[in-house]
């Protein structure tokens, strides 16, 4: 957290020195990004996540160690890059986060609402928030687990399976959702992610239908977000985009969120997974 604030401060101090030329601005942003790579607080989340995996919790006082993320009970290495995928026990295509909800319910005995709300802070004190994502300074078991499980796929090739008919159906529905325009601003995902080399303000926008852009985008979430002082997951990325699209709130671990993530994962197929990353 403190590292984040310091870096934000450094950036703010850098701004007045910028030359008016746009190329200069771009160069400064690149330099800032490189500087960020040097120390990533995501490691703290990863370490906590590894502990949560083996810690006994919930009404069944049991750990998540037998959780099946698609490669068999307890297999975590390479699981993230082969998600989302179809799971027979739930008869549903699931991403990592919705799958963790399932495991918290079946193995640990939480209710689905409890598991989705993620009401437990790092010290074990119930922490009920409206958002499934922690605020600054708050701890989320889900976020920590996601950081660790993602790190267990670092360096691997993104390869979501498409052999089950439901995987193909969810992918195609996700594609349609990507193009779905609605709300008072007429926005859809396509508005910002349909063309190459565009920006919002100074923020570069990946063209998600272009595999190189999709690989870089999908391959760098989850990420420690310096501007928020928090590690954010792919579910959060969807939730936040949808908020800015002026849509109603996208529910955590919902089918629409999973469909969008499935679409992006498939577009990113063949890319190298390099997360948890660090972003501005």
């Amino acid at each position: 957290m403190r590292i984040g604030r310091v870096l934000v401060g450094v950036l703010a101090a850098m701004l007045p020195c910028l030359s008016p030329a746009q190329q200069e601005t771009q160069k400064e942003i690149e330099r800032y990004r490189q500087m960020l790579q040097e120390s990533n607080p995501a490691e703290l989340y990863e370490a906590r996540g590894a502990e949560h995996w083996t810690r006994k919790r919930g009404p069944k006082n049991s750990s998540l160690e037998r959780c099946d993320l698609g490669l068999g009970p307890g297999v975590v290495k390479g699981a993230y890059v082969r998600l989302p995928r179809y799971f027979a026990d739930t008869d549903r295509v699931q991403d990592l986060e919705s799958r963790l909800v399932t495991c918290m319910v079946t193995l640990q005995g939480f209710t689905p609402e409890e598991a989705r709300r993620n009401p437990f802070s790092g010290t074990g004190t119930p922490m009920i928030t409206t958002d499934p994502f922690p605020g600054v300074g708050q701890r989320s078991v889900m976020t920590d687990l996601v950081a660790w499980l993602a790190s267990e796929s670092r360096g691997m090739t993104i390869a979501p399976p498409m052999s089950h008919p439901k995987e193909r159906l969810v992918y195609q529905a996700g594609e349609k959702l990507f193009y779905y325009r609605a709300g008072p601003y007429d926005f859809g995902c396509i508005t910002c992610h349909g063309e190459e080399g565009k920006r919002i303000r100074l923020q570069n926008l990946p063209k998600m239908t272009n595999s190189k852009d999709a690989q870089r985008a999908f391959g760098t979430w989850p990420a420690y977000r310096v501007s928020e002082g928090e590690l954010r997951s792919m579910q959060w990325r969807m939730w936040e985009c949808v908020r800015q699209m002026r849509f109603p709130e996208l529910e955590f671990a919902s089918d629409a969120s999973i469909a969008l993530i499935t679409y992006l994962a498939k577009k990113a197929e063949g890319g190298t997974f390099d997360a948890p990353a660090i972003k501005r």
Binding site: L18, P20, Q22, T25, P165, R168, L169, V170, Q172, A173, E175, K176, L177, Y179, Y180, R181, A182, G183, P184, Y185, D186, F187, G188, I190, T191, C192, G194, E195, G197, K198, R199, I200, R201, L202, Q203, L205, T209, R243, Q244, R246, F247, P248, E249, L250, E251, S254, D255, A256, S257, A259
Partner: protein
């Protein structure tokens, strides 16, 4: 996108002898539509001012979603005609407001999100996508640069009317534009739009100096 990849895929499968009985394993379009409709119904909830009915599409939104890859000319023309008829000009007849107010509105990206106070006026989010004044380096590039927009076009009646109309309803001029229909969708008031017209056309404004 789909039109590009599918024939190749089908051809590849046919050549490898896998594709029997017309590739029945690929979900049909109507199946996909049903799955999408189901998801939209169950995956969102009203929060603050962002109510669930925002997901219902009007005709333009539905057509633009359907033809996202390539808009047939006939469909585009029809959308523009319908949208053109929605434009309401201020009853005062005055289309140019205060460019300084316009600059403030152009800078502001708030409005209509469930995290925004509903009582606070929305901004135009103009800099999110457009270059406007030379001083503001933090501008987006989804839309064209509008720097010196008025210097190149003057500030006559016709260009005032066009500029107001374009901000009021961008799709009246360019079907399925990425730009929100700020007036038509009730994001900006008529008065706010006149301030933006001034920002773009007033010879003294930060855009044209």
């Amino acid at each position: 996108m789909k039109a590009e990849t599918q024939p190749k895929l089908i051809l590849a499968l046919a050549l490898s002898g896998v594709c029997v009985a017309g590739c029945a394993s690929q979900p049909s379009d109507s199946e996909t539509e049903r799955a999408l409709a189901g998801m939209i119904k169950t995956s969102f909830r009203t929060r603050g001012q962002a109510t669930i009915d925002r997901l219902s599409q009007d005709d333009a939104q539905a057509l633009c979603s359907k033809h996202a890859g390539e808009l047939p000319k006939g469909v585009g023309d029809a959308i523009e005609k319908v949208q053109q008829a929605t434009i309401r000009y201020p009853s005062s007849g005055k289309l140019m407001g205060d460019w300084r107010e316009g600059e403030r509105i152009a800078q502001s990206g708030v409005g209509k999100q469930f995290t925004d106070a509903p009582t606070r006026p929305a901004g135009g989010s103009c800099y999110n996508c457009h270059q406007l004044s030379k001083q503001e380096l933090s501008f987006g590039t989804i839309g064209p640069s509008l720097y010196q927009f008025g210097k190149q076009r003057g500030a006559g009646e016709a260009i005032q009317k066009y500029t107001y109309g374009k901000i009021y309803n961008a799709e009246a001029f360019s079907a399925c534009s990425n730009m929100p229909r700020f007036g038509h969708n009730g994001v900006l008031t008529e008065e706010q739009i006149t301030h933006l017209v001034a920002l773009l056309l007033d010879a003294d404004s930060s855009v044209n100096r």
